[in-house]
Amino acid sequence: RLNSMSNSLRPYLDCIRSTLTAALCLENFASQQVERHNKPEVEARATPEVLLHPVVISRSKQERCMIEPSINSVRISVCVKQSDDIDTLLAKMFMRFLMQRAEQFVVLRRKAIPGYDISFLITNFHCTEMYKHKVVDFVVQFMEDIDKEISEMRLAVNARARVVSEEFLKQFV
């Protein structure tokens, strides 16, 4: 079952990987509004001509990835697959946990873009400190691992619920 899942996930992740590799061609761009300041233009949105066309890659209604490039930064927002209420709750809690620790992840954004579950912000400074292909690998691996983690958590929740309800109902038998 895992194999068939990753087979249909593969083209989606490959598409995101090549789009990201093309989008992550970043150069330094000092702020044109404030002297001696350097802001990620995709966040500041102060200079329209350095913002590039955003692109949304969607595999289904729930699984989407929006990539907003600009001259010195790229914002990647991901919608995680959520099949039912338990998934929604787990995804929300998991993403909140990760986003509170955004500093540890360096490229994670503390708040997701409205309409998406989690967001990354990669700047030109990240690309100078880290290998670009490794950053892309990280983002793609992150997306893959989130899916796995959430399905594992769902299985664990269901197993625990089953055990708890069995024990509870034993007293009535």
Partner: protein, 148 residues
């Protein structure tokens, strides 16, 4: 005269694009899209997918309204869904670079709409296009003005 400007300053060999990729009014775009849709349907019904591709990639509606550009992408989407995997290489090898760029822009536009059954075909074509035309095609989707 050696000092005349026309002899001194020769235009660059590399022709950088001086203006955006042109712009089309909504009315013209609408008639073009309708004509393209019927031509593509005809080609697809006679199983000529290569011809349908060529027709679908003509007259891209740069500068038209968003809904018209999406409609134009959907005409191309019909052809992409009719394309079989084994024919992909043959069809892509006949495309020029400009046509490849237009197709890449249409593919991204189609990937925005969240149709799960079609997404597989679009993603496969995206991979084949990237292999043929490289990452430059993707960069041109981001950078070229106006958006398609």
């Amino acid at each position: 005269d050696q000092m005349a400007e026309t002899t001194l300053f020769v235009n660059d060999v590399v022709a950088l694009p001086q203006e955006p990729l042109g712009s089309v009014s909504d009315a013209t775009a609408q008639t073009q899209i309708a004509a393209r849709r019927s031509a593509v349907d005809k080609a697809l019904s006679s199983q000529d997918v290569a011809k349908a591709f060529e027709l679908a990639l003509q007259d891209p509606p740069y500068g038209a309204s968003e809904s018209l550009r999406i409609a134009s992408a959907e005409v191309c989407g019909r052809v992409i869904q009719a394309l079989k995997e084994k024919d992909t290489d043959a069809v892509l090898s006949k495309l020029t670079q400009d046509q490849g760029d237009i197709l890449m822009k249409y593919v991204y536009r189609l990937l925005e709409s969240s149709d799960p059954s079609a997404a597989g075909a679009y993603l496969k074509l995206h991979a084949a296009l990237t292999e043929k035309f490289g990452l430059g095609a993707i960069t041109r989707v981001f950078t070229e003005v106006p958006a398609l």
